[in-house]
């Protein structure tokens, strides 16, 4: 269950959060092509390279689950972080709009989030 958002620091994080919601709706509905279309280019390329298969199949293998209700979104410049009850997603802004840079992320104290799907 993916709801729409929230509170944040900057002007309006809602568009980014809406993309996060859209991404997880596609994941929960097993609509892999739609979910892949919402990934940032670097993230999609990294996912395909690591898995050795096309994005839809590679994304399915990551076993992303329903993140639960949406919590808080914060936007700084070209980046937004959206926290769900059981997951965190990072989005980056491109000329074409917001894209998912990392998903399925869990906090690791003192370190970057550990993400099932991420670029680089």
């Amino acid at each position: 269950m993916v709801a729409t958002v929230l509170s944040g620091c900057a002007a309006s994080p809602a568009p980014a959060a809406a993309i996060g919601d859209q991404f997880y709706r596609a994941v929960v509905g097993a609509d892999w092509p739609t979910a892949c279309a919402l990934l940032a280019p670097e993230t999609k390329a990294s996912l395909e390279q690591t898995a050795g298969k096309a994005c839809p199949a590679a994304l399915q293998d990551e076993e992303l689950s329903d993140p639960g209700p949406v919590g808080r979104a914060v936007e700084y410049g070209t980046m937004t972080q959206v926290r769900y009850e059981q997951d965190t997603v990072f989005l980056a802004r491109f000329q074409s709009g917001w894209k998912v840079m990392a998903a399925g992320c869990s906090p690791v104290p003192g370190h970057p989030y550990d993400c099932r799907v991420q670029g680089g």
């Binding site: 900057a10 914060v74 700084y76 410049g77 070209t78 990072f90 989030y113």
Partner: protein
């Protein structure tokens, strides 16, 4: 034309400021987008970059340090002296000096500013108005640096898949103080160098230098 010539110092530096700011805008925009491409992130249009925290912090961190430099120099030279330096006043004049020396109140001259003549709070404020203005711009720029730097740093935190900081965490953190102190150290070095080098070196025609033939031991003499 003559009126223009009477203001060449402010006009020239005003023009240089604008040219450098425009140059900084384009160079900073290119550098920002280059970093974004390298990190696989989206690029900004020029107008987006000019309204970004990244550009604001780069401008503000330099402004605050420059205004702090002049504020400290203006205030420091009230009480601190340097034998032989044209940047110092005469050694026995340290301090805020007398009403007569400063031409205030009943010692005001014919065309003294009205607020120097009136006495009381107005004269007190006017007597410190240069430092008050420089100090206000310094504090405002430093505050802008802290907020813009915080936003810019948090953008980087999110790029590194890390949580953003609160403003208080940022203001007491390494990025804010690294940006601040790297500017301050260079300003203090420049001011100290100017005070000392001008004891022994000259620039013919400059009021910031002693006259070329003035002895090294002369203090408070400007060319």
């Amino acid at each position: 034309m003559r009126r223009l010539r009477d203001h060449t110092l402010s006009l020239t530096f005003g023009g240089l400021f604008l040219a450098a700011l425009v140059g900084q805008a384009f160079a900073g925009w290119a550098a920002f987008n280059s970093d974004q491409v390298a990190a696989g992130l989206g690029q900004l249009r020029l107008v987006e970059y000019l309204t970004s925290a990244n550009f604001a912090v780069d401008v503000a961190e330099n402004w605050q340090s420059e205004y702090l430099q002049f504020l400290l120099y203006i205030l420091g030279t009230v009480w601190l002296v340097q034998r032989g330096s044209p940047e110092s006043k005469e050694l026995d004049k340290a301090g805020v000096e007398s009403e007569r020396d400063q031409k205030v109140g009943r010692y005001a001259v014919g065309d003294s500013p009205r607020w120097a003549r009136s006495g009381g709070a107005r004269t007190a404020v006017f007597s410190w108005s240069l430092s008050l203005m420089m100090g206000s711009i310094f504090l405002a720029s430093w505050a802008v640096q802290s907020v813009a730097g915080w936003a810019s740093y948090n953008e980087e935190q999110l790029e590194r898949l890390q949580d953003p900081l609160t403003w208080v965490q940022y203001a007491f953190g390494s990025d804010f103080w690294s940006r601040t102190l790297q500017n301050w150290q260079s300003e203090f070095l420049a001011v100290g160098s100017m005070a000392v080098l001008s004891i022994y070196l000259r620039q013919r025609g400059s009021p910031e230098s002693k006259p070329v033939g003035q002895p090294h031991t002369s203090t408070g003499v400007e060319g």
